[in-house]
């Protein structure tokens, strides 16, 4: 830790200060240093989307951003958005339609889907599929996920 740097950021609404190695990914920082294990590490090269979190309102890959780059940022994870109930609509639709199986991709999938929900407005299934095409799910075949997101988008009126 001889080259460690101090960072201060907001994670799920709480102030956090830590000393981190410059090479540490944001998702490893969230998981290892803060114990927020809801964001998952699937590929560590920015393809699978399992580590998707929100930084300053934009979704990012937690494995393609370093923890030091999040200094001064507002970071939100699946745990935070579950407790604030921001994800409640999507979670309900995912649950009812079984839009998850093993659940490893699900936190990242929800973060990506919520990005659509926040933009509001009706979208076609093809548009939903395209938006989620950066999030890999091996279990479901995606259809139930698209159904659930469609329902959540419809539900917001």
């Amino acid at each position: 830790m001889e080259h460690a740097l101090d960072i201060a950021l907001t994670v799920n609404g709480a102030q956090v200060s830590r000393r981190v190695e410059p090479r540490q990914h944001l998702v490893d920082f969230l998981r290892e240093d803060l114990g927020l294990t809801g964001s998952h590490v699937g590929c560590e090269h920015g393809v699978c989307g399992a580590c998707t979190v929100r930084v300053n309102g934009e979704i990012v890959r937690g494995c393609l951003m370093l923890a030091v780059q999040a200094n001064g940022c507002r970071v939100e994870t699946v745990e935070g958005l579950s407790d604030s109930r921001e994800l409640a609509g999507l979670q309900k639709a995912f649950h009812e339609r079984n839009a998850l199986q093993c659940g490893f991709c699900t936190p990242g999938m929800l973060m990506a889907a919520q990005d659509l929900v926040r933009r509001k407005g009706k979208l076609s299934r093809a548009e939903i599929r395209n938006h989620l095409s950066g999030n890999y799910c091996r279990c479901t075949g995606y259809q139930a996920i698209v159904d659930a997101v469609e329902e959540a988008l419809d539900g917001q009126g």
Binding site: E79, H95, C102, F104
Partner: protein, 796 residues
């Protein structure tokens, strides 16, 4: 015990099925939706150490020297070990089964000693305080290698140009021949003979959660607790016990949440065995999580077959015979304990499976190569058998000028012909091919689609429709592994317990990886006992608490575990009625359990809440007769025996559009009609099918583990190895025919692999149907744009 004790599918009865057949959501999904699951890498332990592996950069090389000293002195390092050091704690294994006659494989160590046989094989382990430190240290290991001749091509392996394991004399792991006799005669008298060779690419499971293990050895007790992302906790308990020399009862394997498995996580992996050994050696918890690059290089791969098949057909369109020659390559070792001979064996067993010909000949060779090992992955052999059967059937139909649907109807085994013995020797209890094809054609509006296809062809739009009928092995009896000497349980047990509060706890040996095991067990238990679903909790995946069982593979969860839960549920209800009879001083034949109450069977009047019964039985048994003991915990087991396997059947259809300028295949729609027997939860069954279909589509269009001539894996990352993503996938229409198996009371046959079994064949036939007017044809999976353009003669 009245009506509910009849099989759920008893003819002529109106059995109350309770929750069975209802699409209820999975209670266990809630924690996963909130990021509050417990995958192995989420667990936190005091003194946890992290293992990483130094892996061979060569496909085949002798280890001349291994310099570990620099790594040992790196910051945070706890230990660095070579194969010999680990072998002192972990015995090697040999992946053979006695009933696969002649199968051979050399002993395999947790960490390679002297020689590495594929690129990615572990040759040293580094354990450190953090994973980053372990990775830093692994980079300091200095290895000196002597490269050895590399065998990558399976034809060359079969020829034996170079032999990988000298002591085995050749590269043939296993071979099998099957011949009903009369095949040559059938071909001689056939009006039409069609032959084609199909190539199936190597691919892998790509579980989003990499293989994960955390082994926690307790030196004081000489006991080992392993938190493992596995499908088969009891199998692993046995293996850790025997190979590490710890009494079976002192090994506990716990599978909490498992982030995808699909057959990938049901095998013994050397690096995982090494991790358990390292925990013993270091007397502290040690964790290994395979990263994505390691996953591609070392998770089992599957398929890689070259199959030549011929079909003999009469002018009237009757299939007379199939003749098959399969060659498949499995890497340098047969994987322990299931062996790598099973996939080829399945191809021999299942090819031609839906049809009623009587003459069949098959020859199959399984060969060693210097690539990563292959073994059983979702649908094991079925995608090969179905695709090549269905492709050659289509080709024969085309030759005769017959519509592919009509040709299938003519040849599918009639629905009233069961029980039926197939020429490969396998037995079908009861299948429903004709019901399924009728439903499929109606569902997809086959005639309309054919017309649309013709109309679009006039506009140079090339659409294709592909059908794939299938059979699928499920619910294996001990004939699959047990008879061959593998300590893999074919039976499963379930324990049901009525708690003092009137709630029901279910414990079962089958495990949950997201397919919904826990949910369907809750449905079955609630229905069998007579409680509402909210009163049931299910515990799986812990050898310390659940009854012994095989776990999850071969689509056995519902059919075997579900039956054990049903039997235990009925036994618990009988015991509840005994107790109620004592408390109420009423004959138990007058009582029934319904909606958490003991009720009068005839009047339905509520007599006693289970909550009250539980209170009395647990806390006031003094109020019951002195010679009466309440038994509120029951265990029942189930083993399928009457048939070697239960078989399911179904048929899939794919609609594609081929862009003849770019070679891209666009999937427009997919249909699957499946007969999985009793459907416990239609929503979960449909989702199993959809997920399986998409895995099959991946194999057909995108996925292939590519190796260079030197045995180097060329595409071991998710950027280079393509998997299906949401943007390219079609909507998939599912429908069911229900023919319950009469072997069990529940009647469930299983459904986990059907989608994957049939999809590649359906997609292949759809592409070839689209290309037919252009005189082009593809036969090598995956059907990449390049291969499609090659077939069209547009690129070299």
């Amino acid at each position: 015990m009245g009506r509910a004790e009849l099989p759920l599918h008893a003819p002529g009865t109106q059995t109350d099925k309770g929750y069975i057949g209802q699409s209820v959501p999975r209670p266990g999904a809630q924690r996963l939706l909130q990021g509050r699951g417990a995958f192995v890498d989420d667990l936190r332990f005091p003194r946890l150490a992290h293992a990483v592996f130094f892996r061979s950069p060569y496909a085949h090389a002798r280890i001349k020297a291994l310099g570990l000293e620099k790594a040992r002195s790196a910051p945070g390092v706890i230990g660095v070990f070579d194969g010999r050091a680990v072998a002192e704690y972990c015995k090697p294994w040999v992946g053979v089964l006695a009933h696969l006659k002649g199968i051979k494989s050399p002993p395999q160590h947790a960490i390679a000693i002297e020689r590495a046989c594929w690129q990615g094989e572990a040759v040293a382990a580094v354990v450190a305080e953090t994973r980053a430190q372990a990775e830093d240290a692994a980079a300091l290991i200095e290895a000196e290698w002597q490269e050895l001749p590399v065998v990558v091509d399976m034809e060359a392996a079969l020829r034996g140009d170079a032999v990988i394991h000298e002591e085995l004399k050749d590269n043939i792991c296993f071979k099998r021949e099957h011949d009903t006799g009369g095949v040559d005669e059938a071909f001689a008298k056939a009006d039409v003979v069609v032959e084609e060779t199909y190539h199936f690419g190597r691919h892998t499971g790509v579980c989003l959660e990499g293989r994960s293990i955390l082994a926690d050895y307790n030196a004081a007790e000489h006991s080992l607790t392993v938190y493992h992302s596995t499908q088969a906790p009891h199998m692993m308990q046995d293996i850790f016990a025997r190979h590490l020399g710890i009494p079976e009862g002192s090994v506990r394997v716990i599978a909490k949440d498992v982030g995808g498995s699909y057959g990938i996580k049901v095998h013994v992996y050397p690096d995982e065995m090494a991790t358990a050994a390292l925990s013993v050696m270091l007397r502290r918890p040690v964790k290994f999580i395979a990263d994505r690059l390691e996953s591609f290089a070392t998770d089992i791969h599957a398929r890689e077959h070259r199959v030549k098949i011929s079909i003999a057909v009469s002018r009237a369109g009757e299939i007379l015979a199939f003749d098959l020659d399969d060659l498949t390559a499995i890497g340098p070792y047969s994987v322990y304990p299931r062996t790598s001979g099973i996939e080829g064996n399945q191809v021999v067993n299942l090819t031609g499976g839906p049809y009623r010909h009587q003459k069949y000949r098959a020859r199959m060779h399984v060969v060693f190569t210097n690539k990563n090992v292959t073994c059983q992955y979702r649908a094991v052999g079925h995608p090969i058998a179905v695709a090549l059967t269905e492709a050659i059937v289509d080709k024969a139909a085309a030759q005769l000028g017959m519509d592919p649907a009509e040709f299938r109807r003519k040849n599918l085994i009639p629905d009233d012909a069961y029980p039926y013995t197939f020429p490969s020797g396998i037995k079908f209890e009861k299948l429903s091919h004709h019901k399924c094809i009728d439903l499929l054609l109606q569902l997809m509006k086959y005639e309309e689609l054919r017309k649309e296809q013709q109309d679009l062809r006039a506009k140079n739009i090339f659409r294709g429709i592909g059908l794939a009928a299938m059979i699928e092995v499920t619910n294996p009896s001990p004939a699959f592994y047990g008879v061959g000497g593998a300590r893999i349980s074919a039976q499963d047990g379930a324990t049901l317990r009525l708690e003092p509060s009137g709630m029901v706890t279910v414990l079962c040996g089958v495990t949950e990886q997201g397919q919904g095991t826990d949910a369907i067990f809750a449905q079955i238990a609630a229905s069998a006992v007579g409680v509402t679903l909210d009163k049931v909790r299910v515990i799986t995946g812990d050898t310390g608490v659940t009854p012994y069982g095989g776990g999850t593979w071969a689509s056995r969860g519902a059919g075997i575990g579900g039956e054990a839960v049903l039997l235990a549920g009925r036994a618990l209800r009988a015991n509840v009625l005994e107790i109620a009879s004592q408390i109420l001083k009423t004959g138990k034949e007058e009582l029934e359990v319904k909606d958490n109450q003991v009720v009068n069977r005839l009047t339905r009047e509520a007599k006693l809440p289970l909550e009250e019964l539980g209170r009395i039985a647990h806390f006031r048994p003094d109020t019951l007769p002195v010679d009466f003991q309440a038994e509120l915990t029951v265990t029942r087991h189930y083993t399928p025996r009457q048939y070697g396997f239960t078989f399911t059947n179904g048929i899939q259809a794919s609609l594609v559009e081929v862009d003849v300028d770019t070679g891209f295949v666009k999937l427009l729609k997919h249909w699957c009609v499946e007969d999985a027997g009793t459907v416990v939860n239609p929503m979960l069954v449909d989702e199993q099918i959809r997920g399986g279909v998409v895995q099959g589509i991946g194999a057909a269009l995108y996925e292939e583990c590519l190796y260079g001539p030197d045995g180097q894996l060329l595409n071991g990352s998710m950027a280079d190895y393509l998997v299906p993503m949401s943007g390219e996938m079609p909507d998939i229409v599912c429908a069911h025919v229900e023919t319950p198996t009469r072997q069990s009371q529940l009647g469930a046959k299983g459904v986990g692999e059907a989608g994957t079994a049939g999809a590649p064949g359906a997609v292949m036939n759809a592409i070839n149907d689209a290309l037919a007017p252009l005189g082009a044809r593809v036969a090598t999976m995956p059907f990449t744009p390049q291969r499609v353009l090659q077939a069209l003669g547009k690129v070299g």
